[in-house]
Each structure stands twice: as structure tokens, then as C-alpha cells.
């Protein structure tokens, strides 16, 4: 597999960005996700944002889970 964790983009300069996870920061590359804006959350894998996290989908999944489990 590939270890990737959600990181928040703090600032952007060209393809370079500064991202943060719980106070830990690193320069990351946006080569694979040029659409990223400051404040977006990305999936960070080996220093590259491999995808933008879809915050709406994240909420919907949790809502779906709540509904699915209502009777249990």
C-alpha cells in the first residue's frame, strides 16, 4: 500500500506548498494536484499531494454510516 495522510495546505508558491498535520509541517509538491487552494486538505503521500480530500464526501460517508447503523 501507500501510506498517505490528510494534510492541510497553509500556503502555495507555484507547485510548492506548505502543508500541516497537527503542527508538523513540510514543503510538499502540488505537481499532481495543481487545483489545490490554500485551506484545502490533501492526501499526502511521500511529499506529494496525490488527491484533494472531498470534504462533502467525507461528511456524506459519516452520515451514511450513522444511518446504516441506526438500528444496530
Amino acid at each position: 500500500m501507500c501510506l498517505a495522510i490528510p494534510a492541510k495546505v497553509l500556503s502555495i508558491e507555484g507547485y510548492q506548498a506548505e502543508a500541516e498535520i497537527a503542527g508538523v509541517t513540510r514543503q510538499i509538491s502540488l505537481r499532481l494536484t495543481p487545483e489545490v487552494k490554500v485551506g484545502d486538505w490533501v492526501l499526502l503521500h511521500t511529499g506529494y499531494a496525490i488527491n484533494v480530500i472531498d470534504e462533502d464526501a467525507a461528511k456524506e460517508t459519516l452520515k451514511l454510516l450513522e444511518e446504516m447503523c441506526e438500528v444496530y
Binding site: L3, A4, S29, Y48, I50, N51, C69
Partner: protein
């Protein structure tokens, strides 16, 4: 941590487990393809939560484990060339090849640096203009685009001492090879999460259509994995296999098009040899003609000698899911995490390492 903690919710996990238990009528055999899932399932003890009707099999989705000895030997030989700095992800260091490991080569004087990112390898190239930096390009579709991007960066900056030894592998072709062999009977597959962040869910369609096997793309937190299992059970029960996404915050059906484009710009598919599985067509990536000057294969020549497999090691069969680690005579005796014979005992995602922990755990609890 945001987007992680919500999916570790204990109460919701328990309710989802209840639902799965309730739902699970007949015996099913599921494979978590990805080593990351194997690791997470062990880490959270998810097997203990599942009903006995749900059997989980580990697949060949650990890039380190499936690297063939011939490739590993070549990497070790490359690290010994004069003027070379070999940059590698930490995962590869302890993996035993035919004769040595990168860790041993380092102890013998090879300049091997552990990096977290291809960006860091590129920085080594900038900082050491008189050395050749060889980056050991392992990993599946999640990692390959990052390395393709580093090659584009090197090209843009006219860095001429950066090389990539590409032993990347692709997931869908090997899943096809596994299913085609007919060796393993599966009802459902938990598809990799971060590979799918790049390739999307569409490349797995053939699994459902041609083989009638249920598919769900999963993330790596407990709720992600449990949700994918719930989806698989529903598909199996209804007799309508398809490809669902249980990890929608990270994976879209079409994947990351930009990343696919960059990967396709730099790499082309080629046959690749997988440990235990052999040569699988279209399952590897090599640098395209236009980027050959970054290709280790073109720039350096090494002859590490013929590869050989450790006698008695069943890693290959275990990677195909046809043997259990406990079937291996070396397992737990000669081959332990301290003295690994095969890669599946080294990698924290390896089936043998996972099973070693699991077995000792069962033994501990039964006493």
C-alpha cells in the same frame, strides 16, 4: 487528526460490526489486496470483530514484498558503483535479496540514503552535482506519479545527475493475473485506497464484470475497512457484483486525471516480474524514450549474478494467496522478524510478519 479520528469512532465501529454480523449469512472469502489494509486490520484487530463466516485473505499488495530478487540484486549492485548515492524509501533497506540487502551494502560502505520523498532525492542531486543520485523507484500507482513528477522537475531544472531505477508495479494487471490463474477462489476484494486515489475505481470494473467478484475501494481507518466489508457482503448477498467506493473522501471514480497524465507522460507499461507470481504483462512501468537519460537501465551497467530464492521460502505462494504463512516450514523457526528469510517477514505489511504477530497473539490469549 481531521479526516482520521472521525473514522476511528468506537461506538459507530461497534454498531457497524453488529450490522455485519447480522448480515453475514454464508461463508465468504474476501481478499484485502493492499498491504496497508493488512497492516491496518492487524493494528486495529479487525479480524477479531468479524463473524467466523467472513474469511480475510491478504493479497500481494505490498510493493516491497513483490519486488523480485533480480531487481533487488540490481539495486544493491547499483549502490556499490563508484560515485553513486542510492536514495531509497526506508522500506527497502532490510529486504533480503539473493546475496545481500541494502542494509548490508550500506554497512559495507555503499552510500545509501533514506528519503521520505522523491523530492528529497532530487535535492540530493542538487546538493551533490558530482555524484550520481539513483532513486530506487518502488511502489504502485500511488507512488509512481510522484516519481514521474520528480523526473519532470529534474528535466525542468536541467539536473543531469538524477536517475531512477523504476521497478514500479501496477495493481489491476496483477489482480487479473491472480484471478486468471484460478488458484484462489474469492467472493470479494477490498481494493487499495491510495492507488485508487490516482487510478480511480473504473480499472477494477473487469473484476466484477468478468469474474463476478464484488469490489469495494477502502480507506485505512477502522470505519473505512468495515464499511467496505459491509458493501462487499451486500453485493455478494444480492448477487450483483460491482465496484463501490467506501473511501469517497479520497477516491473519485475517474481518479486523479492530472496524476495519470504525468505518469503516462514519463512512464510506459512493460512486463514486470513479481515475486512468486512471475512475469505479468503490462504490470510494470519503464521510462519512455524521451526520458531515457534519467533511466538507470540506460546509464549504468551492473551484473549482480543470477538471482536465487531462499530454499524453502514460500513467500511467492503466500503472496498469491494459495499458501498460509503457517504452511511454510521456515515460518517462525528459521524465519522470524529478527532474522527474516523472505520479504513477507520483513515488511510491516507482509503477510508473514502480520501472521507472526497474529499467531503469537492467539497463543498468548489462549494460555
Amino acid at each position: 487528526m481531521k479526516f482520521i479520528d472521525e473514522y476511528c469512532n468506537v461506538e459507530l465501529s461497534q454498531r457497524l460490526v453488529e450490522r455485519i454480523r447480522h448480515k453475514s449469512a454464508r461463508e465468504v472469502r474476501l481478499m484485502e489486496f493492499c498491504g496497508g489494509h493488512t497492516h491496518a486490520i492487524l493494528r486495529y484487530g479487525i479480524r477479531q470483530l468479524l463473524p467466523p463466516t467472513v474469511e480475510m485473505l491478504s493479497g500481494p499488495g505490498c510493493p516491497v514484498c513483490v519486488t523480485a530478487n533480480a531487481d533487488l540484486d540490481k539495486a544493491i549492485a547499483l549502490s556499490g558503483l563508484p560515485g553513486v548515492i542510492l536514495a531509497s524509501f526506508g522500506d527497502m533497506l532490510r529486504i533480503p535479496g539473493s546475496y545481500s540487502s541494502l542494509q548490508k551494502a550500506k554497512a559495507e560502505g555503499a552510500d545509501i540514503r533514506i528519503v521520505y520523498s522523491a523530492m528529497d532525492a532530487l535535492r540530493l542531486a542538487r546538493e551533490n552535482p558530482h555524484r550520481s543520485i539513483i532513486f530506487l523507484g518502488i511502489g504502485f500507482e500511488a507512488t509512481a506519479p510522484t516519481i514521474a513528477a520528480s523526473i519532470l522537475e529534474a528535466e525542468g531544472e536541467r539536473i543531469d545527475n538524477y536517475y531512477v531505477f523504476s521497478i514500479h508495479k501496477l495493481c489491476p494487471p496483477v489482480i487479473r493475473a491472480l484471478l486468471q490463474s484460478g488458484e484462489v477462489k474469492l467472493d470479494g476484494i477490498v481494493c487499495p485506497g491510495h492507488v485508487s486515489a490516482i487510478i480511480g475505481s473504473q480499472p477494477y470494473e473487469f473484476i466484477a464484470k468478468e469474474y463476478g467478484i464484488a469490489c469495494a475501494v477502502a480507506g485505512f481507518e477502522p470505519l473505512d475497512i468495515l464499511l467496505s466489508i459491509d458493501m462487499l457482503l451486500a453485493q455478494i448477498e444480492s448477487g450483483k457484483p460491482e465496484v463501490e467506493i467506501a473511501y469517497r473522501r479520497g477516491v473519485r471514480p475517474e481518479g486523479n486525471l492530472r496524476a495519470q497524465e504525468i505518469m503516462g507522460q514519463v512512464f510506459e507499461t512493460c512486463p514486470a516480474t513479481w515475486r512468486g507470481i512471475g512475469e505479468v504483462p503490462q504490470s510494470g512501468l519503464r521510462l519512455r524514450q524521451e526520458y531515457q537519460r534519467f533511466d538507470t537501465e540506460k546509464a549504468f551497467y551492473v551484473d549482480p549474478g543470477p538471482p536465487r530464492e531462499a530454499r524453502g521460502c514460500l513467500c511467492g505462494d503466500i503472496l498469491r494467496g494459495v499458501k498460509w504463512p503457517s504452511d511454510c516450514r521456515l515460518f517462525g523457526q528459521v524465519c522470524t522478524p529478527e532474522h527474516p528469510v523472505g520479504p513477507c517477514m520483513v515488511s510491516s505489511e507482509g503477510s508473514c510478519a502480520a501472521y507472526y504477530q497474529y499467531q503469537s497473539h492467539e497463543a498468548a490469549l489462549s494460555k
